[in-house]
């Protein structure tokens, strides 16, 4: 059961040329197992988002190997990675990234459209996902008619509607107040516990990281520390 879902093997990610060359990731080794809830922390510019983009199969390493579910995802072309994302990965962003002027339900249906799911099935699954995140009655509101916390719930519903294996969340509470932050974190914790959803989450806040079982700290493109909470029985 403790199979590695995510594996970084001396992953490098470099930008630019010659003098201006920047190593956002400089030989990162990392493993995340199925069902884990991992918080990624570290100062600004330390490579957290870069790592998350690779974990989410949005980006590929410059050097080294990234394997996802045992697949050498770093060497897949963009359309194959799109397929991986659609089938196994859900995304939650700091800025919600919902389609404007599009209802909550339609936003949640979106990933299912690219799966070719029939309209009725899409509608049902979207309603279920929205119920899961506690947005019953808001299905037909557009993002402009929803609060930040509600928008982030829609984004989470969109991420889980495909029942993914992995949820990638880059500063999911970055735009929310404390109360809303804890609501969202409780939701994520529940999804992790109840659905066995693997979560990789970037955060700057220690009390947000507290929700995760494991915290990885980045510093200058390296993993500086990696600590797991002892399960208190």
């Amino acid at each position: 059961m403790a199979a590695a879902l995510i594996g970084f093997d001396t992953v490098w990610k470099s930008y630019g040329q010659g003098e201006a060359k920047v190593h956002a990731l400089a030989g990162v080794d990392l493993t995340i197992k199925r069902g884990e809830f991992v918080a990624i922390m570290g100062p600004s510019g330390s490579g957290k988002s870069t790592a998350m983009n690779i974990i989410g199969c949005l980006d590929t390493p410059t050097a080294g190997t990234y394997s996802f579910m045992g697949i050498d995802a770093g060497r897949l072309d963009r359309n194959r990675r799109a397929l991986l994302r659609n089938l196994y990965i859900g995304f939650v962003f700091q800025g919600y990234n919902l389609l404007p002027r599009t209802t909550a339900a339609e936003n949640v249906e979106l990933p299912l459209i690219y799966r070719g799911a029939p309209a009725r099935e899409r509608r049902e699954l979207a309603m279920q996902a929205l119920a899961e995140v506690g947005l019953v009655g808001r299905e037909h509101h557009t993002p402009a008619e929803l609060s930040g916390g509600q928008q982030q719930r829609v984004a989470i519903a969109r991420a889980i509607v495909t029942t993914p294996t992995l949820l990638v969340a880059d500063e999911p509470t970055g735009n929310l107040d404390t109360a809303r932050t804890h609501e969202i974190m409780e939701l994520l914790t529940r999804l992790n516990r109840e659905l066995g959803l693997t979560i990789a989450m970037v955060t700057h806040e220690a009390d947000v990281a507290e929700y995760a079982e494991r915290t990885i700290r980045f510093l200058d493109g390296h993993v500086a520390s990696d600590s797991s909470k002892l399960e208190v029985a």
């Binding site: 980006d59 404007p100 459209i113 495909t162």
Partner: protein, 405 residues
């Protein structure tokens, strides 16, 4: 999936109604111009054809003088020998395959009744003229043989002449003055309307040839001989027979050219029709250029749309859209947009053509094939000019696209 995409594109078009409409203007104008021109063009062709058919179907018209377009010296120094009675007599005696043969001379002459006057086309002829030209009488009678022979002062008038002089009244039995002679109206010709060249075919007076020659022309000349082919004989077969008979009676030796010409009205009809087709084609090409401009407009607006929606594209790519999904989305949008322009253009074009038909009194002849072609063509423009912007959207990097704004 495709329906989904069409709905999506309609939504995004509706979101920017004014912008979409302005973008469409090029396509609208182009398609409207093409449809209007082609529809008016085919109406004109039909009108010209029916006009020429009205001149008489399967009709040959013989005139004195060398046929136009045949070269050779002596066009002017050689006096033109007019057609004469014996030419008509020879045709009547020897020509087979003719339904009617009729001599005619005509002139624009002032016609007077009471205090009213009118310049009218006065033709001296015989009663076979009505058969040759397929003209019918609404009332009254034709010239009798004795009237034709002796040149009695009787005449048949057209509808325009009747209206000018008699209003709602009955013209028969009235005496009108034609030039310095007078004639009694014995019949009224069926109205024929205007020709495609704007000539009133009802402003006519027919009188016996002998009367015309004696009292109006002052000579014995015949301007034209009308020869109508019967149903079994094509004009192309009849024409050489007429030529042979006339060369014979006019004693033209084999080394000389004809001193008369024979015009085949059917051929003229075809020539006219093909001339209008050429015109239509040229105007169509001009309209095609405006479609090209419209296409560039579509391309421009789609590039703007792709840029504006970079973030949306990023979201779609992140949650697993394949490149082709994005490509199709924007292609469909461009196609729907230009198709919409096409449909608006077709409606405007048809309205313009309808208006033109009404004012020019030509038949309104919309062609389903042309309309279908316009629909297909505008869809094609959307696809072709939408392709580059759509490809640009599809090729975006999801990370860059998500960071956009």
């Amino acid at each position: 999936m495709i329906w989904e995409t069409v709905r999506l594109s309609l939504r995004s078009i509706r979101r920017n109604v004014l912008r979409s409409f302005l973008t469409l203007l090029g396509i609208v104008i182009g398609v409207a111009a093409v449809i209007a021109m082609l529809t008016i063009g085919s109406g004109t062709t039909a009108k010209v054809k029916s006009d020429i058919a009205k001149l008489g179907s399967n009709l040959l018209v013989v005139r004195s003088g060398r046929p136009a377009g045949t070269g050779g010296p002596g066009g002017l120094d050689q006096a033109v020998r007019p057609l004469a009675d014996k030419d008509v007599a020879a045709l009547v005696a020897h020509l087979t395959g003719a339904r009617a043969i009729s001599p005619a001379s005509q002139k624009q002459v002032r016609v007077i009744f009471g205090t009213e006057s009118l310049t009218s086309g006065v033709t001296g002829t015989d009663s076979a003229y009505l058969d040759a030209r397929d003209w019918k009488l609404v009332s009254g009678r034709r010239f009798s043989d004795s009237e034709t022979r002796s040149g009695t002062g009787v005449c048949l008038i057209g509808e325009t002449v009747r209206q000018q002089f008699f209003g709602a009244g009955e013209p028969e039995g009235e005496i009108i003055r034609v030039n310095r002679t007078s004639c009694k109206i014995i019949g009224l010709l069926e109205p024929k309307g205007y020709t495609g060249f704007g000539q009133d075919q009802d402003n006519v007076v027919l009188m016996p040839l002998a009367a015309y020659q004696r009292r109006i022309a002052g000579n014995r000349d015949i301007d034209n001989i009308y020869v109508a082919a019967d149903d079994r004989t094509p004009t192309t077969e009849l024409q050489p027979r007429v030529e042979d008979i006339l060369r014979d009676t006019r004693r033209i030796t084999p080394d000389r050219e004809d001193d008369f010409s024979i015009r085949d009205m059917t051929q003229i009809a075809d020539a006219m029709a093909s001339a209008t087709t050429t015109m239509t084609g040229m105007l169509g090409a001009v309209a095609g250029v405006s479609l090209l401009v419209g296409g560039i407009g579509i391309m421009n607006i789609m590039l703007v749309s792709v840029t504006e929606r970079t973030r949306e594209i990023g979201i779609r790519l992140a949650i697993g859209a394949h490149e082709k999904h994005i490509l199709i989305q924007f292609l469909v949008e461009a196609t729907v947009l230009s198709l919409l322009g096409g449909i608006i253009g077709i409606l405007i074009g048809l309205a313009l053509a309808g208006l033109a038909s009404a004012t020019l009194t030509i038949p309104f002849a919309p062609s389903p094939a042309v309309i279908l072609l316009a629909v297909g063509f505008s869809a094609l423009i959307g696809m072709v000019f939408g392709f580059f912007p759509a490809l640009r959207g599809a090729r975006l990097d999801p990370i860059d696209a998500l960071r956009h704004e």
